[in-house]
């Protein structure tokens, strides 16, 4: 029985539990001639929840833990002799898993009985061929110890799956019956299902929070690893970025931070004024009909994949700036430049600024406008002196959110600004950013052991700290603004 079928069975039991619970509640109430504390449906829900939740939780835990436990046990079975020179135990374990899977498939296909397996044990050369038939390609012939390990892997996996099925079904039935037995008119079934639902919701939010913690923890862990191999002072204060895969590289973050800052600055210089003017126009001047059309139309910009913006930068904006501005002015001859990436990123950010600011401006109470018009202010006076100041914190929040988008953007930079780390002021030269370097340090098959690859995590953590800071600032400002009218 696969986990999928098992889940379906549990769900069927759950449904049955609901119906039985509801019926029993009604029957008990009738027999005792009293009123039920909750609606009959609530009793059904309680039974259903007791049937489904513990069983599914058990199954989840089992599915998560079983491979870990089996792996541990098998891997201690494999003698060191079969591990090839310079290879890793984990590679051999991968083979074991694949062979076990292949054998499962052979047995399933029916071409093969369990007893054939023992004969196969005697003749190793055929193993590779037979497995290839079911699509499991092995690099070399199988060592006896590995084959044995695969066999016992299968054995343990099979028994523990059986155990799992039994345990899950027993839990579902057991808890279901218990809940069914507990039903009496005074049972506060409504509170039971409310509590259950609340814990479910809390659980879901925990998943998100724990994931964040997990990401930060892994970043932190690898970063510490990196700083053991490479001095933190050089990382933060060196102005040279020159990784050498043979060792002895300079990994200074400053050129990358500068590139990130410069590109984002150009982008925001374009996006903020245009976005704000769009927002003011939409919120204060345009009619309802135009607004309901224009706002979604502008938001489409936000839905374009950034790689498409990247293409636009690479093919259109870059060559245009080079041919019409950089070369005539003698400022550079590369089509990748800070200006290219910044301008294209700015276009991408316009809807972030305009849409959020428009919402914020709209949220300024009509009473503010009335008050100002009532004193004889014109529309633009009202906007400049009352609405914008009132909306300012929210607008700052919108800008900061756009800024954190800009800092984290990768694709547009790779295709627009290039990949050359450089500290310079000329916006028509190629430069690069933190995110681009994270990608390029991790591309290719290297182990995460050298400072050249581990630096990616330190870069990532730095970036994370920056954007987190910006986001917290933005949230703080937005929150402050909300309090103003309450």
């Amino acid at each position: 029985m696969t986990p999928g079928i098992l889940t379906i069975i549990v769900l069927v039991l759950t449904m049955a539990g609901y119906i039985l619970g509801r019926r029993r509640a009604l029957a008990v109430a009738k027999r005792d001639g009293v009123r039920l504390h909750s609606l009959p449906g609530h009793y059904g829900q309680a039974v259903a929840l007791f049937t489904a939740v513990p069983a599914l939780l058990l199954m989840g835990a089992w599915l998560f833990l079983q491979p870990l436990l089996i792996e541990n046990q098998i891997s201690s079975q494999i003698p060191d002799s079969v591990i090839p020179e310079g290879g890793a135990r984990s590679l051999v374990m991968a083979d074991v898993r694949r062979i076990a899977g292949g054998l499962d498939r052979l047995v399933e296909a029916g071409s093969f009985g369990e007893d054939d397996l023992s004969s196969m044990r005697a003749d190793f050369t055929s193993v590779r061929g037979r497995l290839a038939e079911v699509g499991v390609a092995l690099g070399s012939d199988v060592a006896p110890a590995v084959f044995d390990a695969a066999e016992s892997y299968r054995g343990i996996a099979n028994t523990s799956s059986l155990l799992r099925n039994a345990a899950v079904l027993a839990t579902a039935l057991g808890f279901g019956f218990l809940a069914l037995r507990r039903i009496r008119p005074t049972l506060r079934a409504r509170n039971v299902s409310e509590t259950f639902i609340r814990s479910l919701l809390i659980g879901s939010s925990l998943v998100a929070i724990l994931t964040t913690f997990g990401i930060v923890a892994s970043l932190l862990f690898e970063t510490i690893h990196f700083f053991r191999l490479y001095p933190a002072r050089d990382f933060f204060f060196s102005t040279v970025w020159n990784p050498q895969f043979r060792g002895g590289s300079d990994l200074g973050i400053l050129p990358l931070l500068w590139g990130t800052f410069y590109v984002s600055l150009v982008a925001l210089l374009l996006a903020v004024p245009i976005g704000l003017m769009i927002a003011v126009y939409l919120a204060e001047y345009s009619g309802k009909a135009l607004r309901s059309f224009a706002k979604p139309a502008i938001e489409i910009l936000a839905g374009i994949p950034t790689i498409v913006y990247g293409l636009f930068a690479l093919i259109t904006v870059g060559p245009f700036l080079r041919d019409w501005i950089a070369q005539p002015l003698g400022l550079g001859s590369s089509s990748s430049s800070v200006l290219t990436a910044g301008l294209v990123m700015g276009i991408m950010l316009i809807p972030f600024v305009s849409s959020l600011s428009d919402d914020v401006i709209n949220a300024v109470p009509q009473a503010m406008r009335d008050g100002s018009y009532g004193l004889g202010a014109t529309q633009s006076e009202t906007i400049m002196r009352v609405i914008m100041p009132a909306a300012l914190p929210g607008i700052v929040g919108a800008i900061l959110l756009a800024a954190s988008r800009a800092i984290g953007e990768t694709m547009i930079v790779v295709m627009g600004a290039g990949a050359a780390a450089r500290l310079g002021l000329n916006p028509l030269e190629a430069m690069t950013t933190v995110t681009v370097k994270i990608v390029s340090q991790l591309t290719g098959d290297t182990e995460f052991a050298s400072p050249e690859t581990l630096v990616a995590f330190a870069l990532g953590l730095t970036l994370f700290v920056f954007t987190l800071g910006l986001n917290i600032l933005a949230l703080y400002i937005v929150r402050k603004y909300r309090e103003q009218y309450e």
Partner: protein, 271 residues
């Protein structure tokens, strides 16, 4: 009539009998919100330097009429105004009239206090600033102080003029809004239920203030409180279903109205 104190009755009797020139006048005013007609040919004169109260059941068009008087209805897209409204004999809906200047002459105080999210000082200085009524710091200081004083708020806030106006109590906020309106030296002040968000003590203060303002300003006030109308106004106009039912000296309206609907409304039989 048992709801009015004797003093209030006497007050209204005296002041209501004073003859007064008309400051504003509506002639055959009609208002449509889209297809829906909200006012049907209203003729009403607002006497100078007196308080006129507009009363009537909810939805009868009091606010609509009030908003016509300084063209605040212009800010509502679907609103169309017909007929004419005169301020000192000039039609304010004439295309030659500058609505900015009009609103400086006819100020407005709203139902809910709506101070700007600025300092108390800046709230009051806002009007003079946009109309260029003051230029030096000392001039602004003076306008702010006298306006707050006239609104009876100065002593309460003189030590915290730089604090946000939104931090005041509801009653103080409403008086701040009145000070803000006074700061541009209007001739007429329109008030739409200015006390409906206030407690009785704050209400009493605002009513007292209205009574004092009558010396210098013409005031039109919409109210749902009959006692308030009787306490502060010299003339009262009764609206019903978009029509002006009757208009007259407040004491007469409350003791001996011509129209049965007025009688019924005042004694609480409908509305």
């Amino acid at each position: 009539m048992n709801m009015l104190t004797d003093a209030a009755v006497e007050e209204t009797l005296q002041s209501g009998s004073k003859p007064a020139a008309s400051k504003m006048a509506g002639k055959d005013v009609t208002v449509h919100y889209g297809e829906k007609q909200a006012l049907f040919g209203v003729n009403l004169e607002v006497p100078e330097r007196q308080v006129m109260a507009l009363i009537g059941p909810s939805g009868c068009g009091k606010s609509t009429f009030l908003r016509c008087l300084n063209r605040m209805n212009d800010t509502i897209d679907i609103c169309r105004v017909g007929g004419s409204i005169l301020l000192d004999g000039e039609d304010i809906y004439d295309p030659r009239i500058d609505v900015v200047e009009l609103r400086a002459r006819v100020g407005m105080v709203f139902q809910k206090p709506n101070p700007f999210p600025k300092s108390i000082y800046e709230n009051v200085a806002y009007g003079p600033r946009i109309h260029g009524l003051a230029s030096k710091k000392s001039e602004f200081d003076e306008v702010v102080e006298t306006s707050l004083q006239k609104a009876g708020l100065f002593n309460e806030v003189k030590d915290r003029l730089q604090e946000p106006g939104t931090g005041l109590s509801g009653g103080q906020q409403q008086r701040l809004c009145i000070a803000r309106a006074i700061a541009v030296s209007p001739e007429v002040i329109l008030m739409d239920e200015p006390c409906s968000a206030l407690d009785p003590i704050a209400t009493a203060k605002v009513e007292e203030l209205i009574d004092e303002l009558r010396e210098n300003y013409t005031i039109v006030i919409v109210t749902h409180s009959m006692q308030q109308a009787a306490r502060v106004s010299q003339r009262t106009a009764m609206f019903h279903l978009g029509n002006l039912v009757e208009e007259g000296p407040t004491d007469k309206m409350f003791t001996n109205p011509d129209d049965k609907r007025t009688q019924d409304y005042i004694t609480g039989r409908f509305g």
